[in-house]
């Protein structure tokens, strides 16, 4: 009897190598048994129906039964060793990924990827205006970090924030509608690309570096309230030289705040490469007295394990820790930067082909029989649809009403008069 299973397209050697799951064989045998039982039941029980229909029904039952019983439920992968600063030990050298986690990470990263590409499209159509800093290429960072903390922890980042808005609980719909400045936007059209907020996510911040002390303040509140939560405070290689970040390193260490500093090093601060901006490009050591880790930011498992390690460090009361994620952005700094005047197309292409975070996860899952190509394609289709629907909403939802001009100036306040462009126009604020 021919095997109904597709043969996986050969082993693919990943960075750092990987182990095939040893449980694959046993699972295949068990599910073969189950499948045979299902087929015989179908054939026996449908004597009154047309033969071909029965067969196709059986085939679709075979196809659907595949997803539950046949895949490897979990696999362990070797991950790249992390460079350590002032640490005796680092995160583990292997990571265990369940099928469920893998599908979740795949879907989330693909959603971020497609959402950012759609934003690119809408920007070029002039439906999105102003600043738009895209995150494609860096997906493993946002998704991996979220895999290492919980939604009751806190996170703050700079302006390349769409991915984090999603991982922190925002929907594609409300993110895109914010980019297009509509009333259904996550900030009702008042904030735009750089100012999106969700529970325990403090933006989206436009001033380079300012978010880092803010994050330490959130961490101070966690310690003050004794809630065992922590704050992840992100910044880029460009921001890493900001004075206020060093001020924050100092106070966080003095007061042992539960903060994870994360430098997303995508090699370029706008058009300036790290070599041209920083006397030391070892960003994971720049915290000096703060222990540091340098992590492969293109590997979602690496990021996740490092984040778990860092979170344990914080929660055990040891104070701050610093992670440098080595990552890459495919787009330029923002939509007004083509991104090829300070780096070569070859460089971008090389990263895409060798280190793409989504491809890396996909290859791992396929070569370990944790998912099928069809299944992943279905996810891609579902993601595309989600993005299309969101874009449709974002382009058709109306803009905010003019009444919103003066809303949300102050919290919990009586209405007051707001000076308009001329003394005769009367505007009133609302809280």
């Amino acid at each position: 009897m021919p095997s109904p299973f597709n043969l996986i397209e050969g082993d693919r050697q990943q960075k750092g190598g990987e182990k095939r799951s040893e449980t694959a064989g046993r699972w295949q045998h068990d599910s073969m048994q189950k499948m045979l039982t299902i087929i015989s039941n179908v054939l026996r029980g449908s004597a009154s129906r047309h033969g071909a229909q029965v067969v196709s029904e059986a085939a679709s039952m075979v196809a659907s039964s595949r997803s539950y019983a046949d895949f490897t439920p979990e696999a362990t992968f070797d991950i790249k060793k992390v460079d350590l600063h002032r640490l005796e030990e680092g995160p583990p050298l292997t990571a265990t990924l369940t099928r469920e986690e893998g599908l979740k990470y795949y879907r989330t990263m693909q959603t971020i990827r497609r959402m950012e590409l759609k934003a690119d499209q809408l920007y070029k159509q002039k439906i999105i205006r102003g600043f738009c800093h895209l995150y494609d290429g860096q997906e493993a960072c946002a998704v991996g970090i979220e895999g290492g903390i919980t939604l009751s922890d806190h996170l703050i980042t700079a302006y390349r924030a769409h991915g984090y808005t999603l991982t922190r609980g925002g929907t594609v719909r409300e993110i895109m509608a914010e980019l297009t400045g509509r009333r259904g936007g996550i900030a009702k059209g008042k904030g735009g690309s750089m100012h999106m907020y969700t529970k325990n996510f403090y933006g989206g911040n436009g001033i380079v570096g300012a978010q880092v002390p803010l994050g330490a303040g959130v961490a101070l509140a966690c310690k003050y309230l004794g809630n065992d939560q922590l704050c992840v405070s992100l910044y880029g290689d460009g921001a890493a030289n900001q004075g206020q970040i060093f001020e924050t390193y100092n106070m966080s260490s003095l007061w042992k705040l539960p903060i994870i500093f994360i430098c997303e090093n995508n090699q370029y601060g706008m058009g300036t490469s790290v070599e041209r901006s920083s006397a030391s490009t070892e960003y994971y050591k720049r915290g000096d007295y703060i222990p540091g880790l340098r992590v492969d930011g293109m590997d979602v498992l690496c990021v996740r394990e490092a984040t778990k390690f860092a979170a344990d460090h914080c929660r055990s009361g040891k104070g701050p820790i610093l992670m440098e994620l080595q990552t890459y952005r495919y787009h330029g700094h923002s939509m007004s930067d083509p991104g090829v005047s300070y780096r070569t197309r070859e460089e971008i292409q090389e990263v895409r082909s060798k280190s793409d975070p989504i491809s890396m996860l996909k290859d791992r899952m396929l070569s370990n029989n944790m998912a099928s190509i069809e299944e992943l394609k279905e996810i891609d289709i579902a993601v595309r649809k989600e993005i299309e629907d969101a874009a449709q909403f974002a382009t058709t939802d109306p803009e905010p009403p003019l009444d919103d001009l003066c809303s949300h100036i102050f919290a919990n306040d009586q209405p007051f008069e707001v000076r308009a462009a001329t003394p005769w126009t009367k505007l009133t604020s609302t809280s």
Binding site: A210, L214, A216, T248, F410
Partner: protein
């Protein structure tokens, strides 16, 4: 709001009742903070020397001893960092009081005050309130020279999303600081070092632990009929002194204490100008684009203009960096004689 109104009414009512106690501005601020720290566990104070040193100007004396390290926090000399930390703590639900040793040092941190604190509630469409108070001494002191003498009322007063408060006496200091701490919005609280040691009589009602003054409401300190003097902070005292001298010559000045720079209580000023027909603003800060300039512009644009019998005029600090030598410093700030001179000019005396 009802509670505030009730208590403010009580204060007005008991203006002529015997004073309960004499309290200087420093102690009024101290007591206000103490009471608010006790009332709400989320309130805490951070800044340079606020804890073990008892405050650079002793405004926070005794608080660290009473509340400890968790709630009274000494910071390193890193304004941008600790102001950002204070704002972040407010994001996460605490109610920080962030002290700048003087408002001159806030320039190091001004991005956090404006871009992180003032604008966030608006940018987030109401998702993220910022219940923070920034406080410290503002404006000129005595002999501290140019880098330590600037008045920031106009700069902060310029920005939507901030409330900016400038108390004059102990009642102002007490009531407005308590209101600021209880306010769910970022408040810039501009004190004055030379007022810290000045005592004022405070009634029983004012000493009540829930006494608050409404932010955004000016107070008429002295009734008058011939001319309106509008001022804030230490200059209010100078206006009252000038008014006392002018009264001897038969000129009755109405003195308005702004109490709040933003939002500006233009209604109280307009009502006064419509009564007296003459306006002089008095401030310690520089003239260009200042508090007085704003008041004059608003009067021009509003109903009170038609009641003016003479152009509105400003008395301000001299438009120079503050010099050190006493004789020069004395001539860099508005003096009582400048106010008297201006009143007479405006009244064509």
């Amino acid at each position: 709001l009802n509670e505030n109104h009730f208590l403010s009414c009580l204060v007005e009512f008991s203006k002529t009742s015997p004073a309960a106690v004499q309290v200087n501005v420093r102690d009024a601020l101290n007591q206000a903070m103490d009471e608010e720290l006790e009332r709400d566990e989320k309130v805490f104070l951070l800044g340079e020397e606020v804890a073990q040193y008892d405050g650079a100007y002793k405004v926070s004396r005794g608080l660290w001893k009473k509340y400890g390290d968790k709630r009274i926090i000494d910071t390193p000399i890193t304004e941008m960092g600790f102001a950002g930390i204070a704002v972040g703590a407010a994001f996460a639900g605490l109610r920080p009081i962030c002290e700048f040793m003087t408002w001159n040092f806030s320039m190091q941190a001004i991005d956090q005050v404006i871009n992180s604190a003032a604008k966030t509630y608006y940018m987030s469409a109401g998702a993220q309130p910022v219940p923070i108070v920034f406080r410290g001494p503002n404006g000129s002191s005595a002999g501290v020279a140019a880098q330590h003498s600037q008045c920031f009322a106009a700069w902060y007063g310029h920005c939507p999303g901030l409330k900016v408060v400038s108390p004059w006496n102990s009642e102002d200091a007490r009531g407005l600081l308590k209101a600021a701490i209880r306010d769910n919005n970022p408040v810039v609280f501009l004190e004055n070092e030379l007022m810290y040691g000045v005592p004022f009589d405070l009634s029983e009602e004012v000493m009540h632990k829930d006494f608050v003054l409404p932010i955004g409401k000016a107070k008429v300190e002295r009734q008058g009929t011939h001319i309106t003097l509008v001022s804030h902070s230490r200059c209010v005292g100078f206006c009252l002194d000038a008014a006392a001298v002018l009264a001897k010559e038969g000129v009755e000045c109405e003195v308005v204490n702004l109490r709040t720079i933003r939002p500006l209580d233009v209604e109280t000023i307009e009502a006064s100008v419509m009564k007296t027909g003459h306006l002089v603003t008095v401030e310690g800060g520089w003239p260009q684009y200042g508090v007085g300039a704003e008041i004059c512009a608003r009067i021009m644009e509003g109903p009170a203009f038609n009641y003016l019998d003479a152009p509105a005029v400003r008395v301000t600090g001299v438009d120079i960096p503050m010099p050190y030598a006493k004789i020069l410093e004395d001539h860099s700030v508005p003096q009582i004689k400048d106010i008297i001179f201006t009143v007479k000019k405006v009244l064509n005396m």
